[in-house]
Symmetry: C2
């Protein structure tokens, strides 16, 4: 419809003609209570006079063709979250679903009503990108209220929950970090240090397990925030220590912070210090030196989550998992220790 076309009648025109608020018109359209009969009659007369037609969302509530899925997620600016969302959107769009994203604040506590109230209607399909406590709690609330209409992406640890195959698309963060740590040990590093992002402990578990396998007591974990800057600050002491020859980082952004701190401290990469990230974000290949990291197919996980949800809603054959296995990508920030 071109901007130059005739102006369609809006809910505001109806409200004006009936002398009520647009919320009242909405209530009348949706046959909701709390509208006096005389007001209802006046609004209905205005609707008829102006030839107003409620929009598609009203039709959807009445069982129309538009279907939507609500995605509950943590910070959308993080690479893993953004890519998972893209995967969900791609698959949903191909299937004719509209995606609504609801971002949960990790600092807040949400009641059942808070979470369910973010759905467009009772029983509306939902996907939870479960990366932290708040999103994990949202997943529990949704699973409890509407098990037939919710799936989640999350750590492999959740696979242990009963019936998880029915609602979970897992990504094994523990195994990923274990593999990267083993690789560093295989090159002769006597130990590997760990810079942790907030909340997500499974990668840290994998790192500790790889060390334990070969009888190494894990050194103290250094805690970082989510930003590159917080990582540079958190790692300043670690990179200045000549006894530290290898650092595994919770994700790529943290690794970029460590590389910056190492640069300031005058340590050469990878001669003095090996650094490994996790995610293979777009910058990893274009950083100088190129960042060694683990490629995680978040987009494939997102697509698979949508396909699993669709299977639950519509039946049909079980969808095949369709994401790439995580893979170590060796670039220029890792190598054997000196001598």
């Amino acid at each position: 419809m071109s901007a130059a076309g005739p102006k369609p009648v809006s809910i505001f025109d109806v409200a004006k003609q009936a002398g009520v608020s647009h919320q009242t018109v909405s209530r009348v359209i949706n046959d909701a209570p709390m509208v006096a009969d005389t007001t209802r009659a006046r609004v209905k007369a205005a609707i008829a006079d102006l030839g107003y037609r409620p929009n598609r969302s009203a039709r959807t509530l009445a069982g129309g063709a538009v279907r939507s899925v609500t995605v509950f997620t943590f910070d959308t600016s993080l690479y893993g979250t953004a890519e998972t969302l893209r995967g969900i959107e791609d698959a949903a769009s191909a299937a004719g679903f509209t995606v609504l994203i609801s971002v949960l604040d990790p600092e807040q506590t949400y009641t059942d009503g808070d979470i369910l109230g973010r759905l467009s209607h009772d029983g509306a399909p939902a996907i939870v990108i479960a990366h932290d406590e708040t999103t994990t709690q949202a997943r529990r609330i949704l699973r409890k209220a509407q098990p037939g209409a919710v799936v989640a992406t999350g750590d492999d640890q959740l696979s242990r929950e009963p019936g998880a195959a029915d609602w979970l698309v897992p990504l094994d963060d523990r195994v990923v970090a274990k593999r990267a740590t083993r690789y560093l040990l295989s090159m002769g590093h006597r130990t590997v240090h760990y810079l942790a992002m907030p909340g997500k402990a499974r990668r840290q578990d994998g790192w500790a397990e790889a060390l334990a396998e070969v009888g190494i007591e894990p050194p103290e974990v250094v805690q970082s925030g989510w930003t590159i800057g917080s990582a540079a600050e958190a790692a300043a002491e670690l990179v200045a220590d000549p006894g530290v020859t290898a650092i595994m980082c919770g994700n790529d952004d943290l690794a970029f912070g460590v590389l910056h701190a190492a640069h300031r401290a005058g340590r050469s990469i990878p001669g003095d210090l090996s650094v490994i990230g996790c995610d293979d974000s777009p910058m990893a290949a274009y950083h100088v030196p190129g960042l060694t990291t683990v490629d995680l197919d978040f987009r494939g996980v997102g697509r698979s989550a949508f396909e699993l949800l669709r299977h639950k809603l519509e039946g049909g054959p079980d969808p095949r998992p369709s994401w790439r296995s995580p893979e170590l990508v060796v670039r220029e920030t890792s190598g054997p220790p000196r001598q």
Copy 2:
């Protein structure tokens, strides 16, 4: 509510007991048409038997306390978009609003019904982060249908539209790029080349104007995609040309691509080549060398957009614009040309 608490009655329990789909239960709850009277009676009996209480979203349709704003946006993984969203979310959360994000695909064309159908109900408040043609079209559709309940962020050029102060929070991309280009010229570069991101021509306009001011014919614009990789590829020829001494980039990601291409081509930064980005994304300060760029307060713009929307919905004094002015941040990728 703990996971161990008593299981609340869900819409699925009602559906099972009444022998209907959960969509049918939803229709009955919302008093929607297309349900046979006998079915409606059966569902209502099941609701009464089980003591089922519709969730908050149903109450909202009936005029309850939860308010939501739908944000229409382009790719949420881009820095500017992600930060604007954060600003909207921060302000909305403080005011007790829930945010739903609807991502529009720049490859698709949307009808009025497609856009309005993504609102939770007719007249639902909306913010459009208008960065490209698709989001700009969405803004037009929403403005036409419900002018009292929509605001947009977007380029300053939109300020020329009648009554724009009533719905627009502008960010002047043209002036920002002009300032950065003038700075390069002031250091003695004989011209400045431009690497363009898709769609967003206003920064390019500013670059061309700064050159025109001093009588320089703008060199041919080099077109990039959105990714660092596409920028590295697009700029390969440009950075290999020893006559090129300064490149202004559409955003920081493009600048990172150019810096990588320059590294591969063996050109020193900024001795052989000055590179400037735009956005001041988190990596800019931690890249080695540090990226000269323009700091844009997207988060402040997002907060201001929400405050303007709230003012339209609730009245009260005009909200003051509360975002920082764009500022050139000189780091290590810019300097005078050799000799």
